[in-house]
């Protein structure tokens, strides 16, 4: 179809374009290689294939924003189709007589049916692409969807502030519209024998504009010429997403969700000294540098971030966006020195770093396998080692953890005091063998709002004849939140202390009432040689019911309850079913909140937030959650007593507070699941025969 001169121009253009594209991706790969080593991945080809299938079915985006995700599918399948469309368009231009119109009638060896099918798909996908891209264009520029913006207090790269993201989107949106329209017009101009039933849109355009050789040449050049410019551009824009996202997903974290990467990678190149955590972008692992190229800045992570909800200056997506622009300025631009900028200046504000609850919602929802939360923990790690000023509450907690093994400034010997107050004795697991070693945790041991529940767990275990014991003063905080605050050294110290205590004890498995302890004992202690069977008490209780050791004496149909999935039990460790089965067993009316299981909304206490001395203004995540529970109950009103059921000591504190601060004491009450079980099983607190007086 093309004249000789056109062909020469095309080939020169294609070579130039390929040159710029190769340079673009080489620059990206070079920047990724500057990162530290990442935890070793197993069976990379297998994971890449699995990721390819996931991408093909667009599974990961469907976790949130269902309608927009379907439109994204139009875009995705459209662009995949267009990879072939462009190839054939180029062949039609270069190979004389090669044309696919009318079933490729001139072509030998090619089945007409196949060509017709391809024509139909590409024609319809052209339409789908135009619709999808128009929706996205309208959403960003006319509807101005707030989900695509950032809070004013979030640190943003200057270029992003000046609208670089929107410009990027506009360029690609306009390209797609022009490219697809030009292709459709080229096909229309090609139809010199009237309509082709397998090309309905092109045929419709042909009925208006007719066939034209000049038109064909102009449209072809607009369609294919544009591609030559846009491909190199993509490698320099956020649309690297098209290429990097599937790869990034294939290389995503394989270790358990609840296991943080080490503060210093296991592999350090010879002659290098690595400080723990990350100060500058190249202190991050290569995988987390790659994250920023996979991110298309959809902000799904920001939607689910409890800190962002609370008005804190944290946006996980802004973190990725800022990383991306920092890399762009340093590698494509003329500022290579920017690679040395502290992340806390260029990427995320220190206040935002300390706002993260490490709830994992951002990582869970990310369609492309990014881990912004892990970056934040690495930044904290380095800040702590470098002696950054800490929040006074966090500092006090850490100092107490270092000296007392708990964050509440209580003496070690007081840890088992609640057990000594019981009406029966509780074994010391470091002195005599037990089947279940109960790891109690700080909050359940010391906090007087939670201790009554702790005692009730002991009564139920005792009632069921469970062989259990605790470690009394030998137990230290498990270190889950210490590690997530970034105090890796203290975490290791706590692990050593607990491993020493476990060494003294004889037990078959660990049971814990605390999801945070559960997480680190189960997922992180094995790296320190602590390979134990670890159970959350909801699982142990369910087993006791299944074995007939606990039986329901009274159905609790007079309660209407909802259940909050603790992050470290649910999203991190998949412990969704045991608590729900227990609720079913005790016979309460159960209403599920909209944000449940994987999509549960953090109470705001994790990652050291519960230690913070400063409390920010605004509606707290826990308050919002209580409102969510009440709205859920309102959909199905009744006169029953309404309960908010928790299975985490921190939740007990956070939500009891939130019920008070939202003045909802008359509408809803927070209870630990053990309180329901006690009532259903018929185990009660012993009646005190004499009043206890305490010294003033």
């Amino acid at each position: 179809m093309l004249t000789s001169i056109e062909k020469i121009i095309f080939i020169l253009l294609a070579l130039t374009s390929a040159g710029f594209t190769i340079h673009g991706f080489k620059t990206i790969i070079d920047s990724v290689r500057k990162g530290r080593s990442a935890p070793e991945l197993k069976n990379v080809p297998g994971s890449l294939i699995k990721a390819g299938i996931t991408v093909l079915f667009q599974r990961t985006i469907l976790k949130a924003r269902k309608i927009l995700s379907v439109i994204h599918m139009g875009l995705f399948f459209g662009l995949i189709t267009y990879a072939f469309v462009n190839l054939f368009d180029a062949l039609e231009g270069l190979v004389p007589g090669f044309t696919l119109t009318y079933g490729g009638a001139h072509l030998a060896y090619v089945p007409t049916g196949l060509v017709n099918a391809f024509n139909l798909i590409s024609d319809l996908m052209s339409g789908a692409l135009l619709i999808a891209i128009t929706v996205f264009l309208v959403r960003r520029f006319f509807v101005k969807d707030k989900a695509l913006t950032f809070r004013d207090n979030v640190l943003l790269n200057d270029k992003v502030k000046a609208g670089a993201q929107s410009r990027d989107s506009l360029i690609v949106d306009v390209f797609v519209i022009m490219h697809v329209s030009a292709h459709l017009m080229a096909q229309a101009f090609r139809l010199d024998q009237g309509a082709d039933p397998f090309m309905p849109i092109a045929s419709f355009l042909n009925s208006i504009f007719g066939a034209s050789q000049i038109g064909l040449h102009v449209a072809w050049w607009i369609s294919i010429g544009w591609v030559m410019f846009i491909i190199p551009y993509l490698s320099r824009s956020k649309h690297t997403h098209f290429f990097i996202a599937p790869v990034n997903l294939g290389l995503a974290k394989q270790n358990p969700r609840g296991q943080l990467d080490p503060a210093i990678p296991l592999k350090v190149p010879n002659g290098n000294h690595y400080d723990p955590g990350a100060k500058i972008i190249t202190d991050l692992s290569w995988k987390r540098i790659l994250d920023s190229y996979a991110c298309v800045q959809c902000n799904r992570c920001q939607d689910v971030c409890p800190a962002n909800f609370y008005g804190r200056p944290l946006s996980p997506s802004a973190l990725e966006v800022n990383k991306r622009y920092l890399l762009k300025e340093a590698t494509f631009g003329s500022h290579p020195d920017r690679l040395l900028l502290p992340l806390t200046e260029a990427v995320i504000s220190p206040e935002a770093v300390w706002s993260c609850t490490t709830c994992y919602a951002c990582v869970r929802v990310c369609p492309v396998g990014n881990e912004p939360m892990a970056d934040i923990v690495d930044i904290r790690r380095r800040m702590i080692v470098d002696g950054a000023e800490l929040d006074s509450g966090v500092q006090n907690a850490l100092q107490s953890l270092a000296t007392n093994g708990n964050w509440m400034s209580k003496g070690k010997r007081l840890r088992g005091r609640w057990a000594k107050e019981m009406e029966f004795s509780i074994k010391n697991a470091t002195e005599e063998p037990v089947e279940h070693l109960w790891f109690v945790g700080d909050t359940a041991s010391f906090d007087e709002r939670v201790v009554p529940n702790t005692k009730m767990v002991a009564r139920i275990f005792n009632h069921a004849g469970l062989d259990f014991g605790i470690m009394y003063q030998n137990e230290s905080n498990a270190g889950n939140d210490v590690r997530r605050v970034g105090e890796e050294g203290l975490f290791e110290q706590l692990v050593e202390q607990n491993m020493q205590a476990f060494g003294k004890a004889q037990f078959q498995r660990i049971v814990t009432t605390d999801p945070h302890s559960f997480n680190t004992l189960k997922n992180e202690y094995p790296q320190f040689g602590g390979k134990f069977e670890v159970k959350h008490y909801t699982v142990t209780l369910l087993k006791l019911f299944e074995e007939g050791k606990l039986t329901i004496k009274k159905e609790l149909s007079h309660y209407k309850v909802t259940f909050h999935d603790p992050c470290y039990l649910g999203r991190y460790n998949g412990g969704f079913t045991a608590p729900r089965k227990l609720l079913e067993l005790v016979g309460v009316e159960f209403d599920e909140m909209p944000r449940n299981c994987e999509n549960s909304f953090c109470c705001g206490a994790g990652g050291g937030q519960i230690w913070m001395g400063k409390v920010a203004p605004g509606e707290r995540p826990a308050e919002n959650r209580i409102k969510e529970a009440l709205t859920t109950f309102e959909k199905n009103p009744s006169d029953k007593k309404q309960l908010f059921i928790v299975t985490c000591p921190k939740d007990m504190i956070m939500y009891s507070d939130a019920v008070k601060t939202t003045s909802n004491e008359s509408k809803i009450e927070v209870r630990d699941i053990i309180q329901l079980i006690a009532e259903a099983v018929g185990v009660e607190e012993p009646v005190l025969t004499q009043a206890v007086t305490s010294p003033a």
Binding site: I384, V385, A402, G489, E665, T693, P695
Partner: protein
Amino acid sequence: MDIVVAIKHIPSIADDLPVKGNNVDFDSVDFVLNEFDEQSIEQAVLVKEAVDGTVTVIGVDLIGELDNILHLALAKGADKAIKITADDPAASSHQQAKWLSDAIKSLSPDIVFAGVQASNDLDGQIGPMIAAYLDMPYIGGVSSVEISDHTATINKEFSGGFGAKYAVSLPMVVGVQAASKPPRYAPISKVRQIAQTATIEKIAPSGDASAGLAFKKMAAPVATGHAEMLTGSSKEVAAKIVELLKSKGLA
């Protein structure tokens, strides 16, 4: 500038304080660093950072566990650590002051910091006694120290929100109430690294103090009454409070 910080290892009050005979039952109590000494270490390190010098931290090792505290001080920026190996958990403040000042004398310091008081020494004896033994001026209740030209500019706090600024020629002893900045956090990785590499100088206790106090009796305070908890809904509680205030003639 040679800066010395005298610290005190004291029974922790995070625990119940067990009593045995006329004193604390030292076998069943944890020992911690006096919290005012935490402030005085910080103030000493801040001074060192401002004027250049060395900080030597010195304490009496009462139960053989002072190393942890000295490692922490080194991690926070002290340069040298000394322990006086007394191995007597009941050593009085007066006795400790004698041992400390004998050791400090040989260091010929420009300034000595001590916590203004300790929870087992609420009348703040250590600082003034060291000053007396060393024949140096003493100011306690100090909330900031700056040094230039061998003169210390010192802010002292009085009750009622009053403060005074002193200029004192060195050498002197300072009783620190609060450092001019909150004490820094020492990352445990650093503390543990120091614990493996640092050397702590040991000194034998020098001799008995000429005078001091002796315990006659130690007992828990007797409860003379206890708080009444108002129960009920917030409205009921509020009503009870109003009633109570009225009955006392306050409303």
